[in-house]
Amino acid sequence: MKSRRFVLTFPPEATGEPITYNLIRKFDIMVNIVKADVSPGQVGHLVMEMSAPSKVLKDGIEYMKQQNVECVPIDRTITYRKELCVHCGACSAVCFAGALTMDRKSAELVFEPEKCVVCELCLTACPLKLFEIDLG
């Protein structure tokens, strides 16, 4: 079983196929939608975690390609220099994925990388410029 995170880019015209439904029903891929931004007539984006054996995952990605859905794995990760952090919270303001939050009790910044969708908004939102992209 392999788990990977992908950014799916849908073309503006409808593909005519229920893509995520088919990934689940036909390919038996476990799908977790992390973020969705899809509007009719516009390019749509989906950040999705897919879990399945490697061969199945490969077939699912091939199926999406045939439907003109671009499927790019997220290999980049966000890191930050925790030791310099002042826990102001400015980065948590922009983190819509919920990876950066303020702990209510300790008032400290909590970073949960598994929730990060690498939108990169924290890179510019941090007033101390402590975030960096790790290209893996």
Binding site: V86, C88, A90, A93, V94, F96, M102, R104, A125, L128
Partner: protein, 383 residues
Amino acid sequence: MSKKRTIAEINEKILSGKAVVLTAEQVAAMGREATPAEIAEKVDVVTTGTFGPMCSSGMFINFGHTDPPMRMERITLNNVPVFAGIAAVDAYIGATETALPHDQYGGAHVIEELIAGRDVMMQATAKGTDCYPRTEVKTLINRESVNEMIMFNPRNAYQNYNVAVNSTSKMKYTYMGTLLPSFGNATFSTSGELSPLLNDPEMRTIGIGTRIFFGGTTGYVAWHGTQFNTGKPVNEHGVPVGNSATLALIGNAKEMNTRFIRAAYFEKYGVSIFVGVGIPIPVLDEDLARRVMIRNSQIETNVLDYGSPGHDLLGRANYESLFSGEISLNGKKIRTAPLSSLRVAREIAETLRGEIAAGRFLLTAPVENFKMTSGLNNLEIRL
């Protein structure tokens, strides 16, 4: 009859190691069970703290004279222009000053480097005079080489501040951080019940000459701050709603610590500086006890739309909900985030508490109290 005590009596207790000193958070929690009279009886001093970006900050510096001497007229420090329109080798480093195209590095960063003890490149030019013949200089300076580093901040420690949201469909980059479109977030910048001026809202014990914690050392309240406004509406708990009073602060930056002074850059806005301030409040009587017991749920502020040119007022929120991570505005839930570090504010209040409890920090009565004001002038365009 409620107990009353003087600052002199409190100082005697501090010196004899018998003073009861609590942080504003501790006394707010205690206030859930105890009455103001009981708090006035038991507690002598309450410490506060805040650590937020405060743009109206800067530092006077005296470089020392060269031989032959020079009346420095244009000065840069690490290429950041500093104000040289005062005596020969004096200057004022404004925290927000930058030099294009490097707008992410400014006066605040220079101040932080100097406090950290690092070398900074200084360049200056002058026309040369009979008494100051030298016309240019380029050298390295640092904390040890200069004569004075005097932090003087015209507007710090805002008593309450607005919450910022963005109603538009575009991202807004502001001094209140990055505001996501369509009310995607709400930012605020106060340490709530721990904030200095919210614990003595009428400034009975805070005035000119008050000794404070400032940037890691002892500092003083020099004056009321700029845009000092005590004309703001007060809620049922006696706390002004929205930004109101401010303080001008002064202290020896050579003794400061970069743990409590940090340079900041807000995207597409500019440079600012995090300043650590802590003020002790003597619990002189029941009225002050009632003030220092204030809780986040009782402190409210205005929610403003930073997407509209006039920053339209959209509603009110209290700090309990702001710190909870979510506020409700006209039925819509909005995710909240602070810009001011509660974590460091607590460290400041706790440090000050420890200093007072150990007898190393005595309280002062204001040399003069502030005069209340009724509002602020706007700038009229007359030409």
